[in-house]
């Protein structure tokens, strides 16, 4: 009971997700099938991984506008590297992850040692990453090893491979964030950077690690985009940035830092994806969909600001 009370917002998020999923299945023309479930999980995994990337930066009181650009850059890199011999592909995957980590760490260095506000840093670096992606591949193209793609985007004995992937990632992250010193320190810094510093925590290094983790998860997103689309596309970035922020907010991750979990972020991402699928099946004219998607995002992000109405001391509005 106590556990439920402490995780009330997470419980509400997951309940909302289940309700939306039930509606989605009910109105889906093909009903419940392994195929529908697999497509749903593949879509959800794309945004879910990006939401985890955003989660790490938001956890330490930042916001990452370069999530989308890193996704695009790593997707383009994968379209060159993930083809050929199995050994070459494995090396390619490692190279793409390293590329993502470098992008994230570059953001972290500017924020931690350069004292540049995260929003400015990632706006600028995001532009650089998008530019690099365009230079590497001005138009969509390239190829991905199809066997690998099939293995990761179909089902295994009726269970979507992407669902297994997502659950493994979430389990590993949840355990390591909850029980490792690094994880605890990230929450401590997000909760109060000053107190954490007074406590003798290595604030700089741990923040850097959070940005690095964010870069790695953006790269994982880019890799999974490659698995789903089988090409490299430099223009896929923008949607991931805004959607990942909306997903973490929906998932109960506080934009003020120190609160939230990867599970919440992924649940938020699945909710967003389900809503946009619902719109697809609801017979809205396709041209009206971006408008309603934007509306949902705006509402989702506004939810995070609802706390303003509970503030009883006007001075807190200025903090």
């Amino acid at each position: 009971m106590n556990l439920l009370r402490r995780n009330r917002s997470l419980a509400i998020t997951i309940a909302a997700l289940l309700v939306l999923f039930a509606i989605f299945i009910a109105i889906h023309p093909r009903g419940f099938s392994v195929y529908v479930l697999t497509i749903w999980f593949n879509q959800g995994t794309l945004l879910g991984l990006a939401a985890i990337a955003q989660f790490f930066v938001v956890l330490v009181r930042g916001v990452d506008l370069s999530v989308g650009p890193i996704v695009a850059l790593t997707n383009v890199a994968a379209s060159y590297l993930l083809i050929g011999s199995p050994g070459g592909i494995a090396l390619g995957i490692v190279a793409v992850l390293v590329l993502g980590a470098i992008c994230g760490l570059a953001n972290g260095v500017a924020v931690v040692y350069g004292r540049v506000p995260p929003i400015v840093t990632t706006l600028a670096s995001g532009s650089i990453f998008s530019g690099l992606a365009l230079l590497l591949r001005p138009t969509p193209g390239g190829g991905i090893d199809e066997n690998l793609s099939d293995a990761l985007t179909y089902d295994i004995y009726g269970v979507p491979a992407s669902a297994i992937l997502l659950i493994v990632v979430l389990l590993a992250l949840t355990i390591s964030l909850r029980f490792s010193l690094l994880g605890l320190t990230m929450y401590a810094i997000g909760s109060s950077e000053q107190s954490a510093s007074m406590t003798g925590v290595r604030v700089g290094r741990v923040k850097l690690a959070a940005y690095g983790m964010s870069g790695i998860f953006s790269a994982l997103t880019g890799l999974y985009v490659s698995m789903v689309t089988l090409t490299g596309d430099p223009a896929i970035g923008p949607a991931y940035t805004l959607n990942s922020i909306a997903a973490v907010v929906l998932g109960g991750v506080a934009l003020t830092g120190g609160v939230g979990s990867p599970l919440g972020a992924v649940a938020g991402a699945l909710i967003l994806k389900t809503i946009s699928s619902l719109m697809f099946f609801s017979g809205l004219p396709p041209l009206a969909q971006p408008f309603f998607e934007g509306l949902v995002l705006a509402v989702a992000i506004s939810l995070g600001a609802l706390g303003v109405f509970r503030i009883r001391n006007r001075l807190e509005l200025f903090q």
Binding site: S180, L182, L184, S191, G200, R202
Partner: protein, 507 residues
């Protein structure tokens, strides 16, 4: 004599040209409780921050066990065995009590925290009598006293060689203070050096072996406990007698003087409960008690900073519930509030002295864009003279002024509006003594001219010697009202703790 654990050699530190510590020599020894006494702004907290590695000295050096050391961060200081429990709390609000304690001295295997550390954290809490605090409770859910206990446990958990306690026990009941002192005596026996900062003389007498007095950033004297009388100690702290510092009180305003500020049954957000308070014309009314018991909230409620305040607030018989600060300062209401932190709330540091002086009165100028009327301008001029405001140039940023002169600017900017009731939040914090004496004199004069003054102070001497009447706050309530001869240090402390002191500690 045992070798000094920590020795400061001619250490100086200043902030933006304002000296906080000047040429300080100081040392402390293992197995000794060393009390540091001094007024607000005497340099105590600067000394602590130097030792804890939060700031570095401008000149001079710090030696640990005879070796000169640079303490570049709180982390490095902790590695040298120096652990500080700061007055401004260092708990992470969203983390559990257990995590807060364990993270200060983590033990890991393959990067994962060992569960045994949590058992030790439990044992440390139990040792200081905090058996009722659950390890899984969030820090933000704790009361002020509980947070203080967790802070102490956190400091002890790191097994310090030098433990610095800065007002560590200010919110604790006397039973808990005794339990904590028991632990400190045990540490002392094991050879830990303890620096103890407290405003409460009876606590210093109960635990300290040696006392060092600081004043205006200088180390004035060090002596063993019991070799000086309390009066001598206070004399050392303020550098003059109390009679010189405070102006004579004069006649108390008559009972039929009109009530300017009348607060009745005021409650807010579970942090203020049914507060009743009256301030008459010409009266200086103090708000006492421990820090953060609702005094600040009351001032904010009256000035219209808080939302959803219940009860009744009247100024000169006119109900003003629900007004905004911009309305409260209008001449028909006539409130002025000097906020707690002059650097962030009282002044705009980058703007010039003149601009800051005009800021509050701007709304009285037509459309707020045309110049102020000559009457207001003249009033500001007269206030500058009256306050003997010293600054290089009125066009220089107000940040270049000393703390005392900055506070004068804040006061002048509000007095320029000719308020009827002046709310002051700890106006003399961090201000040098001559300026303090000037401010006391001015407040007394203003009261004599008919201003109603409400003064929140953490300084007992101010409440006792300046105020006509003191409301003591505890837990968001006014628990006692002290007037005239009832205003004694002991009565204030008793009322602040909301209980009589046990006979043993009573002096």
């Amino acid at each position: 004599m045992a070798e000094a654990l920590v020795r400061l050699k001619s250490v100086s530190k200043s902030y933006g040209g304002v000296p906080a510590l000047t040429d300080v020599d100081f040392h402390c020894e293992p197995g000794l409780v060393h009390a540091i006494l001094g007024e607000n702004g005497a340099g105590k907290s600067t000394l602590m921050k130097l030792l804890a590695g939060v700031i570095q000295p401008d000149a001079g050096e710090i030696a640990l066990s005879g070796r000169t050391t640079r303490l570049a961060s709180p982390r490095e200081a902790a590695q040298q065995g120096i652990v500080c429990m700061f007055q401004e709390l260092s708990l992470m609000p969203h983390l559990s009590v257990g995590d807060n304690i364990v993270i200060s001295a983590p033990r890991t295997r393959f990067g994962f925290l060992r569960r045994a550390a949590y058992d030790d954290a439990r044992a440390t809490l139990n040792g200081i009598g905090a058996t009722g605090i659950s390890l899984s409770a969030r820090a933000s859910e704790l009361s002020l006293a509980e947070r203080q206990l967790v802070e102490i446990a956190k400091a002890l958990f790191r097994k310090p060689r030098l433990l610095i306690l800065d007002e560590a026990t200010s919110a604790l009941t006397s039973e808990l203070v005794e339990t904590v002192f028991g632990v400190l005596r045990e540490l002392k026996r094991r050879g830990v050096a303890i620096l103890f900062i407290s405003h409460r003389m009876h606590e210093v007498d109960a635990i300290a072996d040696r006392i060092s007095v600081f004043r205006n950033g200088r180390h004035i004297d060090t002596f063993d406990v019991g070799t000086r009388s309390p009066k001598e100690v206070i004399g050392l702290m303020i550098g003059r007698s109390l009679e010189e510092l405070f102006p004579p009180r004069g006649a108390t305003p008559p009972d039929d003087a009109p009530v300017v500020l009348n607060v009745s049954d005021l409650s807010w957000n579970g942090q203020l409960h049914n507060v009743d308070l009256q301030v008459r014309q010409g009266e200086i009314v103090g708000l006492g008690g421990l820090d953060g018991q609702g005094q600040q909230h009351l001032m904010h409620a009256v000035f219209g900073v808080l939302r959803k305040v219940s009860g009744r607030i009247e100024v000169n018989g006119r109900q003003i519930n629900g007004v905004l600060p911009s309305q409260a300062k209008r001449s028909e209401i006539g409130l002025a509030l000097v906020p707690e932190d002059r650097k962030t709330e009282g002044l705009i540091l980058d703007m010039s002295v003149t601009e800051n002086l005009r800021l509050a009165a701007l709304s009285r100028a037509p459309f707020g864009i045309l110049g102020l009327d000559t009457e207001t301008e003249q009033r500001i001029r007269r206030l500058i003279d009256r306050l003997s405001l010293i600054c290089g140039s009125f066009d220089a940023p107000v940040a270049t002024l000393s703390g005392g002169n900055q506070q004068k600017v804040v006061l002048a900017k509000w007095l320029a509006l000719s308020p009827k009731c002046l709310l002051l939040m700890d106006p003399t914090r961090g201000i040098d003594l001559p300026t303090k004496a000037q401010l006391y004199q001015l407040l007394r004069e203003l009261a004599r001219e008919g201003l109603a003054v409400v003064l929140h102070s953490t300084d007992y001497e101010e409440l006792i010697h300046l105020c006509d009447r003191v409301y003591v706050f505890y837990n968001g309530r006014t628990v006692r009202q002290l007037t005239g001869d009832e205003l004694t240090p002991n009565a204030l402390i008793e009322a602040s703790m909301n209980m009589p002191l046990p006979a043993g500690i009573r002096s």
